[in-house]
């Protein structure tokens, strides 16, 4: 072999190797920058989509296909509660001065108030005709009421808020595991039925109650849930690749952090930060992949959830010095995620290309479809990035 051939073959190996990496693991991370005002503007546009599709009975447009300008059938009361909560979060971020937004959220709230049923020591949010109450629905309704209080200072629904809290607390076992369903016929929680979502949702909602009503004993059940999520949930409930990226758990940690987290909770917060950070990093590389190496670009809900998680953990790191080393990276990833959200949101100009621009503008579509939780999670994530959730500016 001549020297020239050695040099040539080495050059080929380097070029092919670098090229392969550049199109996969080492693809450029594209992170459009957004400032707080732009994030708030995008969140407001998302709320505009929710308001535009709201019906007279308080329900929101559930799923929409922009290709044929048709609403898809179906509804989900847990998602209804979540969307209402996000509207109140935005109302709080805007200091409650947006009366149209508050009116839309209150109409959504009325839909839920009409569906409160006695459950355990309190009341649960239940779909009409259902014999079971789902924990997540009650939890997100409680979170919505807490956000409404943030937005308005109005204590009008505190009785319902506490009743939801008592129901949720009854679903929490001594270990901190949360039972997902309550059997309204048997008048008892359904044993051994859990949900990857509702534990964090309930823990967070109970922690919100503790923040609003600090002397009423809500702290202990919220911390039991946090301990369970931090130390046992992923294994006990068969989650692969722990930690499962649970933004509700991140909300819970951020609510508890000002009054202190234990070492297990801090370790869990660090692991969650890594998971959300990796998800945002790989998402930011996807526009540089020639083919979807892992999966296509995330839905608005998926990306929004990750940004919500990072926003919550940024707040945890801001008050807990044990996570101080993560602060710059968390800020960076949070801003990257918010930038991706803002970039992928349908603008008013692009929406004009469709038959019903009001039901396209401000939304996030994948394969021509959007669902109301795409807007909910993206909206909350953008507010988190703008520092408008949980304790004011970053």
């Amino acid at each position: 072999m001549t020297r020239r051939r050695v040099l040539l073959s080495t050059a080929v190996v380097w070029l092919v190797g670098f090229g392969t990496l550049r199109l996969s693991l080492l693809a450029p991370e594209s992170c459009p920058r957004v400032d707080d005002d732009r994030a708030l503007e995008a969140a407001t546009a998302a709320a505009g989509w929710i308001e535009a599709g709201q019906q007279a009975d308080g329900r929101y447009l559930y799923e929409y296909d922009r290709s044929d300008a048709e609403a898809r059938p179906g509804y989900n009361i847990v998602r209804h509660a979540g969307v209402t909560m996000s509207l109140y979060q935005l109302a709080a971020a805007r200091d409650g001065d947006d009366t149209e937004l508050l009116a839309a959220a209150d109409t959504g709230l009325e839909y839920m108030l009409d569906r409160l049923e006695p459950a355990g020591d309190g009341r649960a949010l239940v779909d009409r005709g259902s014999s079971e109450a789902r924990l997540g629905a009650g939890a997100l309704m409680a979170a919505a009421l807490a956000a409404r209080r943030d937005a308005t200072g109005d204590p009008r629904y505190d009785r319902e808020l506490r009743a939801l809290g008592r129901y949720m607390t009854g679903q929490i076992e001594p270990s901190g595991r949360a039972l997902d369903a309550y059997d309204l016929v048997e008048d008892a929680p359904l044993p051994d039925q859990t949900s990857r979502y509702s534990a964090g949702e309930a823990g967070w909602a109970i922690a919100r109650l503790n923040t609003l009503f600090p002397d009423e004993g809500w702290d202990a059940p919220a911390r039991r849930v946090a301990d369970y999520l931090a130390t046992a949930r992923d294994k006990a409930e068969g989650m692969d690749f722990a930690p499962w990226p649970d933004q509700w758990a991140a909300y819970l940690l951020s609510e508890l952090a000002p009054s202190g987290l234990n070492s297990d909770q801090v370790t869990y917060a660090r692991a969650l930060a890594g998971r959300f950070g990796m998800l945002i990093r790989s998402e930011s590389q996807k526009s540089s992949w020639p083919v979807p190496v892992v999966d296509p670009k995330a839905r608005g809900a998926g990306l929004g959830v990750w940004v919500e998680g990072l926003g919550s953990l940024t707040r945890v790191a801001a008050v807990d010095d044990r996570l101080a080393d993560l602060r710059p990276a968390l800020e960076d990833r949070l801003n990257c995620g918010a930038g991706l959200l803002a970039e992928r949101q349908v603008s008013a100009q692009k929406a004009d290309d469709y038959d019903q621009p009001d039901l396209v503008q401000g939304a996030w579509f994948r394969d021509g479809l959007t669902r109301m939780d795409d807007q909910q999670h993206a909206l909350s994530g953008l507010l988190a990035a703008a520092g408008r959730i949980g304790g004011g500016q970053r």
């Binding site: 020297r3 080492l26 594209s30 692991a271 990796m278 993560l326 990276a329």
Partner: protein, 188 residues
């Protein structure tokens, strides 16, 4: 500092360098090659941040990539042992003078493809970005120094033993590479 040392040690794989080069180049040329490679590693460690900015990736993402590159090299060492190059005489033309022939080995095979490898370049940048230029510099100097020492000592030992050493470092390299990938994936 400790992880930087280990990463650069396995990226160089001193027994592999020794077995590849000891009979093919004289000590002066080898020393020059080791010095130049060390200098390159230091420069890469020093410029790691601008390099990552240029590539538009953050250190955690690059760590995953460096781990993958190192893992590939480690798998090659484990499966094939040391790299066997053609004899030096085959690499040069007969028109070259004796001295030029001696120094021509500096480029091939000393620097390329033996010392300046994808895994060394990736490791230098990764360690520089994660731990700073000092661990990158110390790691590279120690690893290359060991490679030079091994190249001197290899003539006294049995090649079979050194070949086992290559695979052993390859095995450690595979573990280190896996650790880099996992750490990069789990980083914010």
């Amino acid at each position: 500092m400790r992880s930087g040392l280990i990463i650069l040690f396995v990226a160089v794989n001193p027994p592999a360098v020794a077995l590849t080069l000891w009979a093919r180049v004289d000590r002066t040329v080898l020393a020059a090659g080791l010095a130049m490679t060390g200098a390159l590693a230091v420069v890469l460690g020093l410029l790691s941040d601008p390099i990552l900015d240029l590539l538009s990736v953050n250190p955690a993402t690059f760590r995953v990539t460096a781990g993958a590159v190192l893992g590939l090299a480690a798998a090659t060492w484990l499966s094939r042992g040391p790299r066997l190059l053609p004899l030096e005489d085959d690499l040069v033309t007969g028109e070259e003078t004796r001295d030029a022939k001696r120094w021509s080995a500096l480029i091939v095979p000393v620097l390329i493809p033996t010392l300046v490898t994808p895994q060394l370049v990736a490791a230098s940048i990764a360690v520089g970005a994660d731990e700073g230029v000092l661990p990158a510099a110390v790691g590279a100097i120690v690893a290359l120094g060991l490679a030079g020492t091994a190249a001197v000592l290899v003539a006294r030992g049995r090649p079979g033993v050194w070949s086992v050493g290559v695979r052993l470092v390859g095995l450690v390299g595979a573990v280190v590479a896996l650790g880099m990938v996992v750490d990069g994936v789990k980083s914010v």
